[in-house]
């Protein structure tokens, strides 16, 4: 089996092509740094494996996702490369292409986004590129799948892709140095193309440097580089060696572009410019962003999601629940089985399933943001606020993804360049209210704030963001000694998301939720129900004397100052650590309510509006869920920081709920 790697600049459509060439589906979006880990898929024609790598500008990694790509190219040995370039940004993209050609593996150039280039009045002659670079060049529109057939047929015989013969002359001085380095390297086995290694070394690529350090004494190589650099300096050709290499490449690329590109009809980014003049307007930009967020929540909860959710609720509490009941009676099931299925499973899982419409609509909105190009603009708008808090605006992309689910959001933080900023973003992520916490707010908002559901739910999200910003300031000052952060973000052209892409990416996000409903939520419901059914005195006990009540009663006194010191509230919190959705399942089981209306009635008796706000805030903040803890551990590679993230959120939740409840009580609220 051959393996073929997809390499290219960020946001050039590698993953889009990957998805069409393989039968798998990976995450796509319109900003730089969507793919942060290498993805492996099987080619549709069975010709081998395709590896999708994070986008890179050069082979010098700056951020962790780029490190993944460079590491792969150096340590593993793909049989062939597909280099994807953005036809509307050819000059910048070719800089990487030249380095890949020097790498020496058989390469195919995918000239992507020819539609975007054409719309901007740029015509690229792929035949000129093909003959000058000496490799196959295939025009593509990866987003619609156009041209992917040709790519697939070229890859059918990966071994037939010709060897690269491209060679750039770096001038007498540099060529001498390359030759002497190559001689030194000859005895070392297992290195990629020696000329490429030599050039990367002369460019001071840290990954290549590390690799060589492990194999040999590099002091002699460094002497060669230094000598070459001083020769270049004394002959006034360049100040540094990397600069010299770069300028040779740039000169070549310019001449290539002049020959292959026709830009006489070049037009400015019309749509993008017009949209940007409003959306990133210095006064209008932020209010517009807040307005969009509000409209998004209004659609999710009031206009569309709410009515749909009521339909599902009616279906579960009516036909499904009754149907199951009568079916169980007909087959003569025992009282235990009957209660397990109706109260435990249908009650517990069903209580969460009713929120599927809202959750899917939220995912649809997030997918729209991701695909439109607006995400990068949000970072731009938020940067000055974030800078004051000791972080940079780029952290906002992971934060928005975090509203869907914290796990991919923490992964997305890899594209942040500075380690300190990445760490802060990871640590603060649990404060971004994910879709699993949504059912809790929806439930309580429907009971206590029926007229302002969207506002009440939005308030919880805002609360999370506000605390993230405050803690960010605190952490960056005391834990990271206020190192200053840098900010740079590429602003991709806006585009209208395609329905197909939106549907797919919404489904991929929602699938995880459905899977959870069938696994962890189901298991949690069964266990919780069993605990409520059994007690020290046997089975089918009064719930107040069940194991669940005993267990919840242990925590309840601690929660008393927060306004929800009942065993019922206490016993939802521990299973909530496994998956936040289980909080609502547990409530359904405890209050014996198979449908939302029944549960709402029960809740209004136990909670007051004030204690419900305190409880919602507690659920928002109290602890990252198990899956999030796992990914924090993996990304920070430190138990210390992982426990820190759990500890601080617990303390924060307690303090915030205490202030809400006690403060509210003092003010005479109830």
């Amino acid at each position: 089996m051959s393996s073929i790697a997809l390499v290219g600049n960020p946001n050039t459509g590698k993953t889009s092509l990957f998805n069409t060439l393989t039968s798998s589906y990976e995450y796509v979006g319109n900003w730089a740094g969507v793919t942060v880990e290498k993805k492996i898929g099987s080619l549709k024609n069975g010709a081998g494996k395709l590896i999708d790598l994070p986008g890179i500008y050069s082979l010098h990694p700056l951020s962790r996702d780029e490190g993944v790509a460079t590491q792969y190219l150096i340590e593993e040995s793909p049989e062939a490369l597909i280099n994807i370039v953005d036809a509307s940004q050819l000059e910048r993209n070719l800089l990487l292409t030249l380095q890949l050609l020097e790498y020496g593996k058989p390469t195919v150039l995918g000239l992507n986004m020819i539609d975007v280039a054409k719309a901007r009045g740029i015509a690229v002659n792929h035949e000129v590129l093909q003959s000058r670079l000496g490799i196959t060049v295939l025009p593509l529109i990866a987003r619609s799948g156009k041209g992917s057939g040709q790519v697939l047929s070229v890859l059918e015989k990966a071994s037939a892709i010709p060897q690269v013969t491209f060679r750039l002359d770096y001038g007498e001085l540099a060529e001498q140095a390359i030759a002497s380095i190559e001689t030194e390297l000859k005895s070392i086995s297992g290195l990629p193309n020696l000329r490429w290694v030599a050039l990367q070394l002369m460019e001071q690529n840290p990954v290549v440097l590390e690799l060589l350090k492990k194999r040999m004494d590099i002091s002699r190589l460094m002497v060669i580089c230094d000598r070459c650099q001083s020769a270049l300096q004394s002959s006034k050709q360049a100040l540094t060696l990397p600069q010299w290499i770069r300028s040779i490449r740039m000169d070549y690329i310019r001449s290539l572009c002049t020959a292959a590109m026709d830009t006489t009809l070049l037009k400015p980014h019309n749509l993008t410019e017009r949209l940007d003049s409003i959306l990133t307007h210095r006064f209008l930009g932020l209010p517009l962003f807040i307005f969009f967020m509000y409209a998004m929540f209004k659609t999710t909860f009031d206009w569309v999601g709410g009515p749909l959710s009521d339909l599902v609720d009616g279906l579960i509490s009516g036909p499904i629940s009754n149907g199951a009941s009568s079916l169980l009676q007909t087959v003569g099931a025992s009282g235990f089985t009957h209660a397990l299925i109706v109260d435990g499973i249908i009650g517990g899982v069903g209580g969460v399933v009713v929120f599927i419409p809202q959750i899917f609509i939220l995912f649809l909105m997030i997918s729209f943001l991701e695909d439109s190009g607006y995400m990068a603009r949000v970072c731009l708008l938020m940067d000055s606020t974030m800078e004051r808090m000791g972080l940079n605006g780029k952290a906002f992309i992971p934060f928005i993804i975090g509203f869907g689910c914290n796990v991919p959001a923490i992964m997305a933080a890899r594209s942040i360049e500075q380690p300190k900023d990445r760490m802060l973003t990871t640590l603060l992520m649990p404060l971004m209210s994910c879709s699993a916490r949504l059912p809790v707010y929806l439930l309580f908002a429907a009971v206590f704030f029926p007229a302002q559901q969207a506002t009440a739910v939005l308030a919880m999200y805002v609360l999370g963001v506000v605390f993230a910003l405050i803690l960010c300031k605190l952490f960056s000052k005391h834990l990271f000694k206020n190192e200053s952060s840098v900010f740079i973000i590429e602003l991709p052209p806006y585009r209208m998301p395609q329905l197909k892409t939106l549907g797919r990416s919404t489904w991929e996000k929602g699938k995880g939720f459905l899977r959870k409903a069938g696994t962890i939520i189901l298991a949690g419901s069964v266990i919780i129900w069993l605990m409520s059914y059994a007690g020290p005195s046997g089975l089918n006990v009064d719930m107040d004397h069940s194991f669940l009540a005993k267990f919840g009663g242990l925590i309840a006194p601690l929660l008393h100052p927060l306004g929800f010191g009942t065993w019922q509230a206490g016993s939802t919190l521990v299973p909530g650590f496994l998956a936040k959705e289980v909080v609502v399942s547990t409530m359904n089981i405890i209050y014996h309510a198979p449908d939302a209306a029944g549960l709402e009635g029960q809740i209004s008796q136990v909670f007051t509006p004030l204690s419900s706000v305190s409880f919602m805030a507690f659920i928002l903040l109290y602890i990252p869920c198990l899956a999030t803890v796992g990914v924090i551990r993996k990304e920070t590679a430190s138990w210390k920081w992982t426990f820190f993230s759990m500890g601080y959120s617990l303390v924060l939740a307690y303090l915030v709920s205490l202030v809400i409840f006690q403060g509210g009580s003092l003010l005479g609220l109830s």
């Binding site: 901007r120 980014h269 410019e273 003049s277 731009l380 200053s484 900010f487 590429e490």
Partner: protein, 80 residues
């Protein structure tokens, strides 16, 4: 016409200058800018300034991107 050099920040939004010098910049940012093709001798356009003294939007080789004002002030451009 005589050319004058000034900080990139002093450009009028919408106008273009050629980069003369980039000095004192954080090395990570310097590298990232180089990745985007921003280096001495290249034409750069100031597109707009963000809210609350926030980042400014620039265009270079047809690519739009944004950096903070503090860093933008380290880029010196020639206006003819």
């Amino acid at each position: 016409m005589a050319s004058t050099s000034c900080s990139l920040l002093r450009l009028q939004p919408g106008s273009t200058g050629s980069i003369q010098r980039i000095e004192g910049m954080n090395p990570i940012l310097r590298r990232r800018l180089a990745d985007l093709g921003v280096s001495e001798g290249v034409m750069i356009r100031l597109k707009g300034k963000g809210p609350f003294l926030g980042p400014i939007t620039l265009e270079c080789n047809g690519q739009l991107f944004a950096i903070r004002r503090k860093e933008a002030s380290m880029i010196e451009v020639n206006v003819s």
